[in-house]
Symmetry: C2
Subunit: 293 residues, 2 copies
């Protein structure tokens, strides 16, 4: 078995940023303003802080403006709704995100539904999800779109593949199932969506030409669950305690990389696989939001 | 093998109509008006004429008002949009449908997007599709919802089943995949969505605990594609020429019933299976639309 192709999200995201930066510089050279992404961060969750910081930094890298709105974890739902309404109405803001998860006393769907779909660069609003399902232009959810772009830019054609997706979340598994099943490329996969109620999970995994793990269970996918020659995409990024690191933790994917990689035709690393692609998709959506105003 | 349970949509739809009728009579007895469904029929396609006639008759059966708007097949897109806008604004109309297919010179999605989501009792508008995907209250597309109701009222629990769906249409296969995969009952299935680009279709079918055929290919599913003990749902209703009938045609499902039925734990007939359930779902959605105004 030859060594697997590493699906290097870090490198491809850098390429996408380079393209966005060049187009942005061109627009600025003819007197246009840059796109502006706003991010709402509620509380001080370590993961959320880190994700938002990466998004803000990515904006700076490509010359987009950004704005970070910090809210106390004690903010009420109606106060957070006011923040969202303010961003909806702010002419300077092209798109914005409300970083998840939110504190338990806030209903995430109430906040999600309040976001103007034309500024919903996370692609989580029902209007964008419904438009995606119908194949109409929309903001695609960032992680599924990033996975598709990662496959596309690695020259992987998915038509006719059997894709098996582990995890049915609203932000990864379920929308990715739709994107991979629909006509087009990437797409045209036979898609099997597995989840916590799946019976015989290992057998499903073993039939996958393209296996996507989006469970948030570190090291869950073992070598005996992967068909030789499969393409494996690991969406998991769980913080696992590691006292030997300055941060005190290490990011672990859902795939036991060391034992699975030798079997694969191609595989994403964690970190440096899907994560950077998610941020690249967010920038792409922000650019779209700017262009459509 | 004992003889299969016949999933009798005609009988269950009659039961649903009986329930809707009783609730409606009660509302009328306290002075409320009945729900009103409007249907827009463009042209004179035989199938469409028949479907709309069934829907109008079903309204009468349960005591709902209905209104049929006939348009020439030469109607322009903008004229049809005016009809839709009129229905959106008509206070007397609780819900309405635009019977598909439309003539080729009209973009179905343009019409679909013009329908007020709160009156979209077909459940085809992106807002309703997106809300369904997120598990929010919405009008469910009539055929997938009817299939779920048919399973529920036959006491079939689907949790943990492997459901294999043939056909990825926006109105049946794709939304049904979402309904069967999501948490709840019916639901919690591992779902495989197959379509024209699927490789090894027979093998996929043979693994199904619940096999749903929504291809529009008469007699496509043969006995050698069905696992013994499977539940088979046939969505196909293709008109096949039959000179021996007064109508000149016979309705044929996607399943070769005579050879498949003996293998099954349960199976829907065609006609009298999914078709009546679709109309029952439309009535249920119309009642919801009335109650939510």
């Amino acid at each position: 078995m030859p060594s697997p192709l590493l699906l290097d999200g870090k490198q491809i995201a850098a390429q996408i940023r380079k393209e966005l930066k060049a187009a942005n510089a061109l627009r600025i050279s003819i007197g246009q303003r840059p796109p502006l992404l706003a991010a709402v961060l509620v509380g001080n969750d370590g993961g959320s802080e880190s994700y938002v910081a990466h998004k803000i930094k990515a904006c700076a890298d490509v010359g987009f403006e950004s704005r970070l709105l910090r809210c106390s974890s004690a903010i009420s739902q109606s106060e957070l709704l006011s923040v969202v309404h303010g961003l909806n109405q702010d002419e300077q803001v092209d798109g914005f995100i409300v970083q998840l998860p939110l504190p338990e006393h806030i209903d995430e769907q109430v906040i999600n539904l309040a976001i103007d779909p034309s500024k919903d660069v996370d692609g989580f609003h029902p209007v964008n999800i419904g438009r995606m399902a119908l194949g109409l232009p929309s903001y695609l959810p960032a992680t599924p779109a990033g996975i598709c772009e990662l496959l596309r830019r690695n020259g992987i054609t998915t038509s006719g593949m059997h894709a098996v997706i582990l995890g049915r979340s609203h932000i990864v598994g379920s929308p990715l199932a739709q994107l991979l099943a629909r006509p087009g490329e990437p797409g045209n996969c036979t898609v099997t969506l597995c989840h916590s109620k799946t019976v015989g999970l290992r057998d499903h995994c073993l039939r996958a030409d393209l296996l996507v793990a989006a469970l948030g269970k570190p090291g869950f996918v073992k070598a005996d669950m992967v068909k030789p020659g499969a393409i494996v995409v690991d969406v998991g990024t769980t913080r696992v305690a590691d006292p030997s690191r300055p941060s005190g933790f290490v990011l672990r994917g859902d795939v036991a990389f060391d034992e699975v990689a030798p079997l694969c035709k191609a595989i994403t690393p964690v970190p440096g696989g899907v994560g950077p692609m998610t941020i690249a998709s967010l920038l792409t959506n922000t650019c779209q939001a700017f262009l459509h105003r």
